[in-house]
């Protein structure tokens, strides 16, 4: 049986990601300037936005893996899709936790029906259904096809949900990350570094999860 960390490149990757994350957290806590009116609450954005980016990117991977699975009928793509769905959901949970933590001191309310946050919540609910239908499906082959189709539909629905929520209550203020690009380098560079670290960590997690799912599928085949 192939152990994930016995592979040299996986060891290097894991070590690098660990180091990057340590530097990232150090830079967020000590290296970034304090924004006067937000104080410590602002620092959560160095985690919140990269988590959202990784979560949505992961669901994009689910869609691509779904298309490839349906066209090539190769179960490798089903494992990629399932792994990406699991990790994407994990990051979306982080977004849904960190968003209200930031919003409470800044907006005075933990939840506001802001388009991005609402889209995240709706997408999270869709993926709850995704995991349920995969768990309650009958044959693995059919569950895989159902998952692939649902992954495509969910991602296509994202822009429509976002636009609908945006026009639904147009006067609701947007997240401040739209202005991130115009921030001074003291904020922008650590922010971009955090995005990079989260993306590197995401690919490591994805690789690890795909490895586990492959081992699981080999064991299931052997059991049969």
């Amino acid at each position: 049986m192939n152990f994930f960390f016995s592979n040299r490149s996986n060891q290097l990757w894991t070590g690098s990601v660990f180091l990057l994350m340590v530097v990232n957290f150090y830079s967020i806590i000590w290296g970034t300037p304090m924004v006067p009116d937000q104080e410590w609450a602002q620092k959560i954005f160095y985690l919140h936005v990269p988590s959202a980016w990784v979560g949505f990117f992961s669901y994009f991977i689910v869609m691509i893996a779904g298309i490839l699975f349906l066209s090539k009928k190769d179960h490798k793509w089903d494992r990629v899709g399932l792994a990406a769905a699991e990790i994407g959901t994990l990051f979306l949970i982080l977004v849904l936790i960190t968003g209200p933590i930031w919003a409470k001191p800044i907006w005075g309310r933990a939840w506001i029906w802001e388009p991005r946050l609402t889209t995240t919540l709706v997408l999270f609910l869709i993926y709850m259904g995704y995991f349920m239908i995969r768990s309650f499906g009958d044959y693995p082959e059919r569950s895989a096809r159902t998952g692939a189709v649902l992954g495509i539909i969910a991602f296509v629905d994202v822009p429509i949900i976002f636009l609908s929520v945006k026009f639904w209550i147009p006067d609701i203020q947007s997240h401040p990350q739209v202005e991130m690009s115009s921030q001074p380098s003291g904020i922008l560079l650590p922010f971009l570094f955090s995005m990079f670290c989260f993306t590197a960590m995401y690919f490591l997690m994805l690789r690890y999860r795909i490895h586990i799912l492959s081992l699981k599928s080999i064991r299931e085949k052997n059991d049969l």
């Binding site: 995704y130 309650f136 009958d138 059919r142 096809r145 495509i152 296509v156 429509i160 949900i161 636009l163």
Partner: protein, 220 residues
Amino acid sequence: MLAFLVKKELLMEFRAKESFLTMAAFSMVVIVSFSFSFNVSSGRFVEMTPGLFWVMVLFTSVLGLQRSFAYESEFDAFSMLLSAPVDRGLIFLAKWISGWIVLTLIVLIALIPFTLFLRFTIPTNPLVGIGIILLGNASIMCLGSFVSGLAMRSRLSNVLVPILLFPLLSPVVIASVKSTSGWMRGLSFSTWETWIFVLSSFIIIFGLLGYTLFNHITEE
């Protein structure tokens, strides 16, 4: 072939009358529950009626969707249907169109108790309202028929349909409520035309996706 499949779906529905009767009774129960839950005589209640109306439509549609594939899963009739030399995308279109017709009939009937019990005043241009109902119902049944087919062979399929469908339909609910509200308040079409665009886009996008992907979810 499509007309034949739609006819088959409608014949099955109107012979058994299971979905039709349960959906009609359920919509009535929902309306009465709304009457008990809210202060109907309050002036602010008028603002809530478009939302309540579409919540009723959404809940009612789920009953019909659960039955639409259940007929065929009994005695594995769906496998027989799949073995027929028919484009599987057409089966999806037939389910969608027949479900749309049945839901629209139910909603039009339910409008009577809705106006009576919830003091819902139909504006002077009812055809516009019917247009919104047709579009909203088409959107709900389009994705609903697809999701229902997706969940058909799962355990707990009855529970999974609403869990999967409601979040996916959130743009439809927002767009239908907003356009109904615009129509009821007599606002000019240009102020709520965006929502008609959202509904039409939804029907086109998910109609095409459903037609293309239905083949994959029905593979044996």
